[in-house]
Amino acid sequence: MSMKSKPPFPPTSTSYKQTEQAHETPRPILLNCIKAFLIGGTICVIGQCISLFYISFFDFTEETAGNPTIATLIFITMLVTGFGMYDKLGQFSGAGTAVPVTGFGNAVISSAIEHRTEGFILGVGANMFKLAGPVIVYGVFSAFLIALIKTVLQLLGVI
């Protein structure tokens, strides 16, 4: 019985990389950017409306209205997330819903809702910042470094 020899397989990872990339579904970058632009812009306009509302009807200035505006946006995010629409919106608009503060809210709230089955301490409490934690950690740390450099420069009289 003559055995056919086994063909050489598998290919090397470098040659496979080319094969793989040729078949990869290309990301529709332009379309994604347009969608992100439109949805992200819309969220910012909604934020502007909320902020104008607080300025007109309450004792908030342009500067101080930022806080209640963000809180309101996150409240809306909670409702949209809870009713299961934020993930669908996120699939459509990508960074358009991820980059505004609503995306931060969604990261926290979706983790909180998700881990409810593990209880409120070890589930909700411990996992709430699973996704959004790095944003706070490196936001704070970079702010610390920048403020430190700036303060030192000010003390030295450079700026």
Partner: protein, 337 residues
């Protein structure tokens, strides 16, 4: 029994006595809905967590497979099964309910055929009369373990796959009527450096191709011997790559002969990106739809190649590559019938 370099030929003809498929709401809308024995319209399945829901899927599928085999629970000698979630606890709890001696198997989405191959080998060695095999997965429990919380608004790329919610079980027996398990090829890990967890098809394609090539070589069979090759859950991207890889080594396969469970389970109008995945994917398609096709003699020789990516969220975070595996099992209708 041992054949070639990494294969088994089964001479005692272990029988695939019965199969069952249970699915969720997405599967109910898919083209294979009629081949499911039970479909849930809610992802929670009246349970308190997604993991419990997955356990329920497994329990329902097991009960159905035993019932359809027309045997009693006590007659089942072993239960060989596994899944993807946290040390495969959903399967462990289902096994606890079943109270059948249990062998846990983990090869991610290749678990279904790994279990069938092991069951057939045990029966071949007269180690048992009836072995229940199967696998389950659940969209939401997989999503939260491998990717993001279910409600997190992330954008999945077109190469990503959608985890099948469901469970498929098969009863393998020493004798009885049904399609016969003829051969099996145990795959090697193939790791060609893919690191993107949203592109599992590309990681699995070379593993599937390697197992198919080895199988054909070990048994000296042409690919045309089989009426159909059903790969696990390569999805659109993986299937295309796999066909090309096979072509590259002169194994030409007709596209209509090369089926993929990940593409069969969902329809083109469903938003599932590159197709289905998850350990239930090949299980529900193989033990549901394909078994029906075999029993109806619409196909007579089928090579099932279940594929799995053996990464974990931790290994991805540590920037490791994604090792992939594929196991092939050949199931044929007996010629004497």
């Amino acid at each position: 029994m041992f054949t070639g370099t990494q294969s088994w030929a089964f001479s005692t003809s272990p029988v695939l006595l019965s199969g069952s498929a249970v699915g969720g709401p997405m599967e109910a809308q898919g083209p294979l809905a009629s081949s499911f024995d039970l479909l849930f319209d809610d992802l929670w399945m009246e349970q308190t967590s997604y993991e419990n829901a997955q356990q329920r899927l497994m329990e329902e599928a097991s009960a159905l497979a035993i019932q359809k085999a027309h045997i009693f629970d006590e007659q089942v000698d072993f239960f060989i099964s596994g899944d993807l979630i946290n040390q495969m606890t959903p399967t462990n709890f289902a096994a606890s309910t079943l109270q059948i001696p249990f062998l846990g198997t983990f090869n991610a989405c290749a678990t279904s055929m790994e279990s069938v191959a092991l069951a057939a080998a045990i029966i071949e060695a007269s180690g048992a009369n009836y072995i229940l095999t199967g696998s389950s997965s659940h969209f939401s429990s997989a999503e939260r373990q491998y990717r993001f919380p279910n409600e997190y608004g992330s954008q999945k790329p077109g190469t990503s796959q959608t985890t099948v919610t469901g469970a498929g079980c098969a009863m393998i027996s020493k004798e009885g009527s049904g399609p016969i398990i003829k051969r099996a090829t145990i795959g090697k890990i193939i790791d060609l450096g893919i690191t993107d967890p949203f592109n599992m098809g590309a990681a699995m394609a070379p593993a599937a191709a390697d197992t198919i090539i080895t199988h054909l070589h070990d048994f000296q069979l042409p690919i045309t011997y089989y009426d159909a090759v059903v790969t696990g859950d390569l999805g659109k991207v993986g299937r295309d790559i796999c066909i090309q890889l096979l072509n590259d080594v002169k194994v030409s396969i007709a596209p209509n002969q090369f089926l993929d469970a990940g593409l069969m389970v969902y329809g083109p109008d469903q938003q599932v990106f590159a197709g289905g995945s998850g350990s239930a994917c090949s299980a529900v398609v193989s033990f549901g739809h394909m078994l029906e096709q075999l029993q109806a003699k619409k196909v007579n020789r089928v090579l099932f190649v279940a594929t799995g990516v053996l990464h974990s969220p931790l290994s991805i975070q540590q920037q490791k590559t994604m090792p992939a595996i594929a196991h092939a099992v050949a199931i044929e209708n007996g010629s004497d019938e």
